[in-house]
C-alpha cells in the first residue's frame, strides 16, 4: 500500500516537475514551498536545458517502471546541473527499483550535497535504515555466496571422488581382464577331463560287456553253459571303473574350474614355488593360494 502511495506521489511529483520546467523557476519555488513531500522528486534549480532534458528522460523511464535507467538519468542530470535535488530523485528511483545500495549511495550524496535541507534528519534516519538493510543484505549475500561456494566445492569434491572411483574400477576391470588364469586349475581340470574321457572308454567297454550278458541272458536268464559269474565279474569291474572315473572326473573337473578363477589375485602369484639349499640340505616349497 505504501509503495502504491509512493508511486502515485512520485507521479504527481513528476507532473509538478514537468510543469515546473515549463513554467519556470519562480513558479517551481512557490510550489515547493506549498506541496513539499519528502517522498516526491525534487526539482530545485533545474534550469539547465541539458540537465532538464536528462531529467525528463529519467521521468519518462520512471513512469515506465524502468527505475535503474531513470536513476542513472537523474544522476547524469545532476552531473550536468549539480543540483542536489536530482540526487534525491535518483535515490527514489533506485529505491523503487529495489537497488538499495545505490539508493543509499544516492541518498548519502544528496545529504552531503545539500546539508541544509529541512528533512535532513528524517532522511538520515532513512539512510541508516537503508544502509542497515544493505549491510544485512550484503552479509546475507556473502553468507549465501560462502555457502554456495562451499556447496560447489563439496560437489566438485564428490565429482572428483566419483571420477576417481570410476577410474579405479575401470583400472581394476582392465587388470582383471588381463590377469592370467590359475595354471593349477588347468592342470586339475585337465586331469578331470582325462578321467571323464577315461570313463567314456571304460563305459563303452562296460556297455559291451553288459551287452554280452544281455545277449546270452534273454529275460535275464542265462543259457546253460554260459559263464555267468565270470562275465558278470568282468562287467561289474568295468562298471565300477566307469562310475569311479565318471564321478571322480566330474568332481576333479569342477575343482579345476573353480581353481582357475579362485587363484586369480591381481599381480600376486597364486602359486609361489621356492627352493633353498643350506649346509644341511635343500628344501622346496610350493605355496598355493586359493
Amino acid at each position: 500500500m505504501r509503495d502504491r502511495d509512493e508511486r502515485r506521489s512520485v507521479g504527481l511529483g513528476a507532473l509538478g516537475l514537468l510543469s515546473l520546467f515549463v513554467l519556470g523557476p519562480a513558479t517551481a519555488a512557490a510550489q515547493d514551498a506549498e506541496d513539499y513531500d519528502p517522498r516526491d522528486m525534487r526539482t530545485e534549480g533545474l534550469d539547465d536545458d541539458a540537465a532538464r532534458s536528462r531529467f525528463r528522460v529519467g521521468q519518462a523511464l520512471f513512469d515506465e517502471g524502468r527505475f535503474g535507467e531513470a536513476a542513472r538519468e537523474f544522476e547524469s542530470a545532476y552531473q550536468l546541473s549539480r543540483r542536489p535535488s536530482l540526487l534525491f530523485n535518483a535515490y527514489l528511483a533506485y529505491r523503487d527499483g529495489s537497488m538499495l545500495e545505490d539508493a543509499a549511495r544516492a541518498l548519502a550524496a544528496y545529504l552531503e550535497a545539500d546539508p541544509g535541507i529541512e528533512d535532513a534528519s528524517a532522511l538520515e534516519v532513512r539512510l541508516r535504515a537503508i544502509q542497515r538493510t544493505v549491510d544485512e543484505e550484503r552479509a546475507r549475500r556473502e553468507r549465501e555466496a560462502t555457502e554456495r561456494e562451499a556447496l560447489e566445492a563439496e560437489a566438485r569434491r564428490l565429482e572428483l571422488e566419483a571420477a576417481e572411483a570410476r577410474r579405479r574400477e575401470e583400472e581394476a576391470r582392465r587388470l582383471a581382464e588381463g590377469r592370467p588364469l590359475n595354471p593349477i586349475g588347468f592342470v586339475v581340470g585337465g586331469v578331470g577331463v582325462a578321467m571323464l574321457a577315461g570313463s567314456l572308454v571304460s563305459g563303452l567297454m562296460a556297455n559291451a560287456q553288459v551287452g554280452t550278458l544281455e545277449d546270452n541272458c534273454p529275460d535275464n536268464r542265462c543259457v546253460a553253459g554260459f559263464d555267468l559269474e565270470g562275465e558278470r565279474a568282468r562287467a561289474d569291474r568295468r562298471v565300477l571303473a566307469t562310475d569311479i572315473l565318471l564321478f571322480g572326473g566330474a568332481a576333479v573337473t569342477v575343482t579345476g574350474v573353480v581353481l582357475l578363477f579362485v587363484g586369480r589375485r591381481g599381480g600376486d602369484r597364486a602359486v609361489e614355488p621356492s627352493a633353498a639349499c643350506g649346509p644341511t640340505g635343500c628344501q622346496a616349497d610350493l605355496r598355493v593360494r586359493f
Binding site: 556297455n207 553288459v210 541272458c217 542265462c222 553253459g225 555267468l228 562287467a235 562298471v239
Partner: protein, 298 residues
C-alpha cells in the same frame, strides 16, 4: 564344442552304467513243470457218452532258435478227476541252451467238444513263462487263448505207446492208471517228458499214446502205475512197472504179437512209434522215482 559333446556323452553313458545292475542276471537252471488248477469242476468228470469229453492236456513247448514252437513235455488227464489239481513234473522245463530260444510256455486245454485234439470249441489257455507263472494258482476262466495257426506246437520227438496186455488188461478194469515218462540226459538228470493219468482204467483199456515225447536216440524211463486205490501213489494193492528205453527200443517189434506175455518183453519200434507192452507176467517194481506227480491239495 567337441569337448562339451564328449563330456555330455560320457555323462550320459556313465549315468546308464551307474544304474546297471548285473545282479539281475541269473543262471537258467530250468524248473519243474507246475500247473495249479483251481475251480476246474466243469472239467473234472467225463461224459458218459462222449469219449474225449473233458480229456485234459498240458503241453510244455518252447520256440527254438529256428522259431518253431516245439513240444518238450506232455501231460494228459483223462479227465482231471477233481476241481483242484496240482501237477508237478520234475525237471520238465529245461534250461535254455541257445539265447535265441523262447521262454517255455504251458498250453493246456480241456476237450469240450469231443472232437479229438485241440479245436476252437475247447477251453484252452496259455501261460507264457512256465517257471514263473506255472507255480501260481490258475483259476478257471473263460478268457480262452489259442495259438495262431501259423505258429502251432510241433513235435520233434517220437511217439510212445504203452500197451496194456493180458486177459484182464492188468487193471482188472478197476481203479486208475498212470504213466510217467522221464528223459535221462547225458548229465544223468531225469527230466519228466510225459504223463498220463486216468481215474478210470476203462478209458485206457487198450493203452496210452503220448505223441512225440520221446527224444530221438536218447534214453528214457517209463513208469506205469496200476493205481487201484486211485490215490496217485504206489501203495498196497497197486502194481507198478518200469521200462528203460534206449537205442534197442528202436528195433522193430518183428513177429512179436501185439501183446506178448513175455516176462522180459523189451520196448520195440512199430508203426513209427516206440511201444512198451505191460503184462501181468512182467516183473513189477516196488518203487517209483517220485511218489506222485499230481495231487488235489487245495
Amino acid at each position: 564344442m567337441a569337448r562339451s559333446c564328449i563330456l555330455l556323452l560320457s555323462l550320459g553313458l556313465g549315468g546308464c552304467f551307474a544304474i546297471t545292475d548285473t545282479g539281475r542276471f541269473e543262471e537258467d537252471r530250468g524248473c519243474d513243470l507246475q500247473l495249479r488248477l483251481r475251480e476246474f469242476g466243469p472239467h473234472a468228470a467225463p461224459d458218459a457218452t462222449l469219449r474225449h469229453f473233458n480229456r485234459f492236456e498240458v503241453a510244455l513247448s518252447r520256440a527254438r532258435a529256428d522259431g518253431a514252437q516245439t513240444l518238450e513235455a506232455l501231460a494228459v488227464f483223462d479227465p482231471l478227476g477233481n476241481a483242484t489239481v496240482n501237477l508237478r513234473m520234475p525237471n520238465a522245463v529245461r534250461p535254455r541252451t541257445d539265447p535265441r530260444q523262447g521262454l517255455p510256455a504251458i498250453d493246456f486245454y480241456a476237450d469240450f467238444d469231443d472232437v479229438p485234439g485241440l479245436s476252437r470249441g475247447d477251453h484252452a489257455w496259455i501261460l507264457e513263462d512256465a517257471c514263473t507263472t506255472g507255480p501260481e494258482p490258475f483259476l478257471h476262466n473263460t478268457g480262452f487263448q489259442f495259438r495262431t495257426a501259423d505258429a502251432p506246437i510241433v513235435s520233434a520227438g517220437v511217439d510212445l505207446e504203452v500197451r496194456f496186455c493180458g486177459p484182464d488188461r492188468i487193471f482188472d478194469l478197476a481203479g486208475g492208471a498212470e504213466v510217467r515218462v522221464r528223459e535221462r540226459t547225458p548229465e544223468d538228470i531225469d527230466r519228466a517228458i510225459g504223463f498220463y493219468r486216468t481215474n478210470d482204467a476203462n478209458r485206457a483199456a487198450d493203452g496210452v499214446l503220448l505223441p512225440g515225447i520221446l527224444p530221438d536216440g536218447g534214453v528214457a524211463v517209463v513208469e506205469v502205475l496200476a493205481d487201484r486205490d486211485n490215490d496217485g501213489r504206489l501203495g498196497a494193492g497197486d502194481r507198478a512197472w518200469n521200462f528203460m528205453i534206449g537205442d534197442a527200443a528202436f528195433l522193430p517189434c518183428g513177429a512179436v504179437e501185439r501183446c506178448s506175455l513175455l516176462r522180459d518183453d523189451a520196448p520195440c519200434f512199430e508203426g513209427g512209434r516206440v511201444v512198451v507192452r505191460v503184462s501181468p507176467v512182467r516183473a513189477t517194481t516196488n518203487t517209483l522215482a517220485e511218489e506222485r506227480w499230481f495231487d488235489n491239495e487245495p
